[in-house]
Symmetry: C2
Subunit: 195 residues, 2 copies
């Protein structure tokens, strides 16, 4: 196969991300479940929009690339609800590694290695780029749920502590956004949307 | 309003792009219509993936930003089928300009101007960045339709000449991809998917 044939096989394969549904809903589209492809678009755009809130220097081109590909592994591994139990998260991590191998493995070798390593960096969430990217991935459902009377939080009886833990990447990577998150969760508790 | 409040208003508003449906369908999700948000994700990723096919030097960071925002105007203006009549395209252009004003106008002034001007550059399709971006926007439906027995082409009785005209940005901006497009349309004619 030529490089282009491999890239086209990947392009067709990732169409399947549009069939992976999350717990968040799209209020403006009859509250249907959101899929991981449109979610990926939204957070990538948000990263561009909010990049100046990053406390440490970040390389926005890498952050964007990470966010565009971070959910592709869900094509094989599925989307696990953010607030699932720990043992489910451990099983999921294994499934996701195999998925990364298969899916990025469709690409020519250099892109395969680049994308797999970017995905892994995102998962590890240790670099400044990855922490900011994770922060973007986490803040969007908060904005969506606050705009939808608690959305998936209310449905699953989630607590403020769980949401804060999930958004904690922002505490160091974008303190001003972290402050916003804390305020919003307090409002959500007052509204009965978070325990 | 603070900058952050304006940015959040924009982030919430653009959730509506997930409710703008196109003519292309998602084969892997029961052939439902594709929306413009997930389409934007897909072509942005494709631009990253195929950037080395660009014949002229391009700034991929600008191309990516253009592609992430290029469809947002459809929230107000709707998606016009690619092969609609000329007079419909003229009316659409006016609606889209008003939409750009309102939607990007939700942002802080500097981002408002930056995004509106990037969107306009994409629409004009005169710079190398915009031509490559347009090429990405056009090649994806071809890949999808070829993978779906003609998809929206077959349904609307589209001709090879129409598809070639629509993909013509690639002829100069990415000749190797243009060659692929030409070959695919020949195959589509042979298969009876294009007139």
């Amino acid at each position: 196969m030529t490089d282009l044939q491999q890239q086209l096989a990947f392009i067709i394969e990732i169409d399947k991300l549009k069939a992976v549904y999350r717990q968040t809903t799209v209020k403006e589209d009859n509250d249907r479940y959101e899929n991981s492809a449109e979610h990926s678009w939204h957070i990538t755009l948000i990263a561009q929009l909010l990049k100046d809130y990053a406390e440490q220097p970040i390389d926005i081109t890498r952050v964007v690339k990470m966010l565009l590909i971070h959910d592709i592994i869900e094509i094989d591994a599925g989307d696990l609800f953010a607030f699932a139990e720990t043992k489910d998260h451990q099983q999921q991590a294994l499934k996701e590694e195999q998925a990364a191998q298969r899916l990025f493995g469709l690409l020519p070798e250099a892109q395969h290695q680049e994308y797999k390593s970017l995905w892994f960096e995102f998962e590890q969430a240790e670099t400044d780029d990855a922490q900011f990217a994770k922060g973007m991935d986490r803040i969007l459902p908060l904005v969506q749920n606050m705009n939808n009377q608690g959305g998936s939080w209310a449905k699953h009886k989630i607590s403020q502590a769980q949401v804060l833990a999930r958004n904690s990447y922002l505490e160091k990577s974008a303190p001003k956004l972290w402050q916003y998150v804390v305020e919003q969760t307090e409002l959500a508790v007052a509204n009965g949307w978070l325990k």
